[in-house]
Amino acid sequence: MTTAAGELTAELRGFRKVQRLAYECAEAVAAQLKPGVTEREAARMQRTWLRERGVRDWFHLPFAWFGDRTAFVNFRVPLQFFPTDRPLEPGMPFILDMAPLYEGCTADIGYSGSLGVNPVQNRLMDDLEAHRELILREVRERRPLREIYEDVDRLMARQGYANRHRAYPFGVIAHKVDRVPERRWSPHVFGFGTRSLKGLAADALHGHREGWSPLWSPYRFSDHPPQPGLWAVEPHLGFRGTGAKFEEILVVTDSADPEQSAFWLDDDLPHVRRWAEDK
């Protein structure tokens, strides 16, 4: 999917563009957060920002989680993921999560931060770096997704954290994303774009016949090597009342060259820059 010179194909450039747009949105909204802003308001700020820049459709509508909701404390039903009226307070951790569609390409990103200093949140962000490295390394080794999932779990446990992506539907750490044809009418169910869901469902059906799944889970249906395509990967650490994650696209190809067989779509993202600066 990349040219010999290591440049991205036009299609990947499209995905990178929307992913960058989404991270820009996250940074812009994060900079506007102040005490008293609610999750609903933060979600609306993301929506408005992206709409103003031409986003018309979503894989899912933006989410915002504040305080111990960043670690999904006491989440039991999926409805609890939706933004609430909880106001942000000084020192509180937060996560913004959005999945805009733009020019037919999907992004699905997660941005974690805190309002002012939060040493625990800070530490979680530092410790996410090892997960980004581990996932890439093991995907390049073509290890079964289920085993990579378990290795991420083990690394989290060693770090002293709990796996919070387990709280997502099907406990997935990642899911496939694809091009979605742009239409004027784009209905949503429970915040998810129907056309994107249709895409996932079609993939699931297709994969089911071939023995793979578009969902990267701890279950047997993920007991297969990484499937070429784009994966939105989101390791989510939880530590008592604080959660942190990143979410970004991992490109998997069928190239024999390990470097080309898998790579992060973009290395110029806020969390990656942060780790580089710390060095």
Binding site: P119, V120, R123, A157, R158, G160, A162, F239, R240
Partner: protein, 586 residues
């Protein structure tokens, strides 16, 4: 008990009496004024004062009519809170003319100090107040009124409860008799009563002035209680940060008395301690630590710094907690939960890196201090060295959690002697060493404490697949019960925790006897997945452990299956025996 060497005495004249004032420590440091209760004299503080003297300028005085201070003439009307406030101001002006002082009061000393802290004329003279076992009479008056005026069943219960605890207050209101009793038999027997009922250690306290102190002090009640309770002041708001220390076993005051305190005190930190009324005698280490921490944080301009966020912060804040096997799973989660409650944590594990990690994260969570120690709990000498080091460098452990343990599965005949040895060495001997060494330090200190041993539901649920592990855990359970009986009289609690299936790393490290390495790997993976599906988090076990310590519970089954099996072991043991014969689903 006399005051420690190096004490400086002076006499302060005020309002017709002469007060005996003692000072210790560096006068240029922050001044801490200790006020004693009834029937006591300033010597009640001797243990606390000597511990505080290393850091502060410590001042104690005999309340008028007590110890070596003179009594007012006549006695009646000589002990009003107004006069006691005059005394305090005179002492404060003498010992710390330029800086406000930190007040500490116990019993009637605390009742007085509440008055000092809530009247306007002392504003600017008090930097902080640590209160134990003595309410503000005004707050108490409002507390009663609120319950009398709107008597819900609960409120009536609270009223009756406190009413029953105040029997002695009514007695003291009768004329002459109390004086006669104190100067007669009660004065003679009082020290023994204190030792027996109140668990106050002997050692020369109370002093010989007791009969006179007690006879004079009766007027504290007669001059104040009725008038104040009938017409409590409505403006009794504290003008300094207050730390409230509540002994949970106090025979004279119920905890509910302080329910509404936030209304009166803008900056309130709460502490609870499992002890009886005379904490200055029975728990001097803990009091000195809490007073130091509070005074230091107020001096540093952060009176709320003591506020850890955890649920049991009032109980465990500043305590020293040692957890073995703290590098993973239940032990690590337990260390974190104590850290969140503001405890100081010693994380012990044979895996050095994991222990360091636990200590690091504990500090992030709110532990004022946390250390990692790399020790194998089955190594007797290493444990002895650890115990020495901890006592010398960190102090006597308040809560010990013997949690390190390993899993071993396989039929009895597949289990080789060396497997048996290993599992017993860690699971049983590790616990024995911990109890022997750290429990001994606790018992010698004689100021209470708590030991938690991690047993398992396997301690009462037999299984043909886990003979060695279950045996080791049954032994831990019985050891805990025996030790609990032995230490009960010394205020040291012992708890056996029986978790059930908890999603930790134990499944990946458990040994499977009688199979080759490849099969063992497969079985480990399989169990790990099963426990993963069950997905009971170690954090919940940690919560159960903190709760068990706070409530001093004996045996604590945690997960529903552990609780179910525990019930069955008592009522339908045959069912458990039938389950024991099943092949585990591996």
């Amino acid at each position: 008990m006399t005051l420690p060497a190096g004490v400086r005495e002076r006499r302060v004249r005020t309002g017709g009496v002469e007060l005996c004032v003692a000072e210790l420590g560096d006068p240029s440091g922050p001044t801490v004024v200790l006020v004693h209760g009834y029937p006591d004299s300033k010597e009640v503080w001797s243990e606390v004062a000597s511990r505080l003297a290393d850091h502060f300028h410590v001042v104690l005085y005999d309340v008028r009519g007590h110890g070596r201070s003179t009594a007012p003439r006549p006695l009646r009307g000589g002990f009003t809170l107004e006069k006691l406030t005059d005394d305090f101001l005179a002492v404060a002006d003498a010992v710390s003319p330029d800086r406000p002082v930190h007040l500490v009061g116990h019993d009637w000393g605390s009742v007085q100090a509440w008055e000092f802290t809530t009247v306007r004329r002392t504003e600017g003279r008090i930097a902080s107040f640590t209160s134990m076992s003595g309410p503000s009479l005004d707050h108490f008056g409002h507390w009663i009124n609120k319950r009398v005026r709107r008597p819900t069943p609960r409120r009536v219960g609270q009223l009756l409860g406190q009413g029953a605890k105040s029997w002695y207050v009514y007695l003291l209101q009768t004329p002459v008799l109390p004086e006669l009793a104190w100067r007669g038999p009660l004065g003679t027997y009082w020290p023994r009563i204190l030792e027996r009922l109140e668990k106050v250690p002997g050692g020369g306290y109370p002093t010989s002035s007791l009969p006179t102190d007690a006879a004079h002090g009766v007027w504290l009640y007669r001059d104040n209680v009725r008038t104040r309770l009938r017409r409590p002041r409505t403006d009794a708001y504290a003008h300094a940060p207050v730390q409230l220390i509540t002994p949970l076993g106090d025979a004279f005051l119920s905890e509910n008395l302080f329910d509404d305190l936030e209304h009166w005190v803008p900056q309130l930190a709460r502490r609870t301690i499992p002890a009886r009324h005379w904490v200055p005698r029975s728990r001097p280490d803990q009091l000195a630590a809490w007073i130091s921490q509070f005074v230091t944080s107020v001096e540093g301009g952060r009176p709320d710094a003591v506020k850890a966020t955890g649920k049991y912060a009032d109980r465990f804040g500043g305590q020293l907690v040692l957890v073995t096997g703290a590098g993973s799973g239940i032990g690590r989660a337990t260390a974190f939960a104590f850290a969140e409650a503001g405890a100081r944590v010693v994380a012990v594990d044979r895996d050095a890196e994991a222990a360091v990690r636990t200590a690091e994260l504990s500090r992030l969570l709110g532990a004022p201090e946390a250390w990692a120690e790399t020790v194998d709990v089955s190594d007797e000498q290493a444990m002895e060295k650890l115990a020495e080091k901890v006592a010398a460098e960190y102090g006597v452990v308040d809560v010990l959690v013997n949690n390190a343990g390993i899993g071993l599965s396989g039929s009895f005949f597949d289990t080789a002697p060396k497997d048996w040895k290993k599992v017993l060495d860690i699971n049983l001997w590790g616990v024995i060493h911990g109890c022997r060494l750290f429990g001994k330090q606790m018992a010698d200190r004689a100021q209470g404490g708590h030991i938690v041993n991690t047993a398992s539901a396997a301690a009462y649920q037999p299984s043909k697949a886990l003979p060695a592990y279950s045996t080791s855990k049954a032994a831990v359970l019985m050891l805990s019960e025996c030790l609990r009986a032995e230490l009960a009289g010394q205020g040291i609690g012992v708890t056996a925790v029986c978790p059930g299936f908890v999603n930790t790393n134990i499944t990946s490290t458990a040994r499977f006897a009688g199979v080759d390495a490849a099969e063992e790997k497969r079985l480990q993976k399989r169990t790990a997945r099963l426990y993963g599906l069950r997905n009971y988090p170690p954090e919940k076990v940690a919560d159960a452990i903190l709760r068990a310590v706070a409530r001093n519970e004996a045996v604590v089954p945690v997960t529903p299956e552990a609780r179910g099996a525990h019930l069955m072991s008592r009522f339908t043991p045959r069912v458990l025996r039938a389950i024991a014969r099943l092949e585990p689903p591996l």
